[in-house]
Symmetry: C2
Subunit: 112 residues, 2 copies
Amino acid sequence: MDVDDLTGQGLLQVLATLANPHRLRVVAALAGERNYVSRLARSLGISRALLQVHLRKLEAAGLVSATIEVSEDGKAMKFYEVTPFALHLTPEVIADAARTLGPESELEAGAR
Amino acid sequence: MDVDDLTGQGLLQVLATLANPHRLRVVAALAGERNYVSRLARSLGISRALLQVHLRKLEAAGLVSATIEVSEDGKAMKFYEVTPFALHLTPEVIADAARTLGPESELEAGAR
DNA sequence: GGCACCTGCTAGATTTCTTTTGCATGTGCT
DNA sequence: AGCACATGCAAAAGAAATCTAGCAGGTGCC
C-alpha cells in the first residue's frame, strides 16, 4: 500500500493514529507476526478492552486488517496483521497534501 | 535533517506534532517561503496567539526553526522556516523505533 | 455446573489538547 | 499623544482523546 497519494484528511488520520505509544507498539508487534486480540493484549501488557479501541483506530486508518478464524478447538479468533504501508514525509509532500485539506489557503496569495 | 534515526520518543513527538490540520498547513506554508508570525497568521486566517502555540510545538519537535531579524524600519520580526526533514515510515521502521519507546516489550517473548 | 478461553460493547471518569481572551512591551510615523 | 504593526505570555473555557470497569455472548473440557 502506498500512502503517498493520500488526501489531506487521510494523511491527517494516519498521523493521528500513529501518534500514540500503544498503537505504535501494536504496529511494531504485528510487523513481526500476525496475532489475535487476547494474545496480543497479553503480549503488550495492556487490557483487552484498551487494545480493541486502538485496533479499531488502526483499522479505520487502514494500517492493519483483521480476519476471523476458527481455531481447531472451535474458538473464534480475530487475527490482525499490518498493512504493508510506506509513508514518505517531507515538507513538500505535506505542502501537496495540505491543498486537499480544507480551505483557508485561498487567501494565501492575498496577505501581503 | 534525517528523521530516520529517531528514538521512539522522538518519532512519537514528530507524529503527534504533525497530526493537526493547523500545523500541517503551517508546514505547508513555510515549505513555500519563510515568513514571520503576524504575516503568516494573516495568510492562514488564524489568530496570532493560536499560531504561536502551534509554532512552539513545531519548533519543539524540530520541524521548524526561528530567527529574529530587525526590518529596515526597526521592527523586530521573528522569521520561521521549515527544517528540511525526511521521514520514511513503514511497519519495519516503526518496529525499530518501538524498541526505544518504553518497556512493556520485555514480556513479548513470554506470552504464549 | 464451573472454569478457562475466545469475542464484543459502552458509560463514565480522566487526562490532554486546542482555542479564546486579555494584557504587556517595543518601534516608527503623523 | 495616538495609531499601526511587531512580539510575547498565560489563564480559563471548550473539545477531544484515553483508559477503566463492568457487562454481554460463545465454545470446549473436567
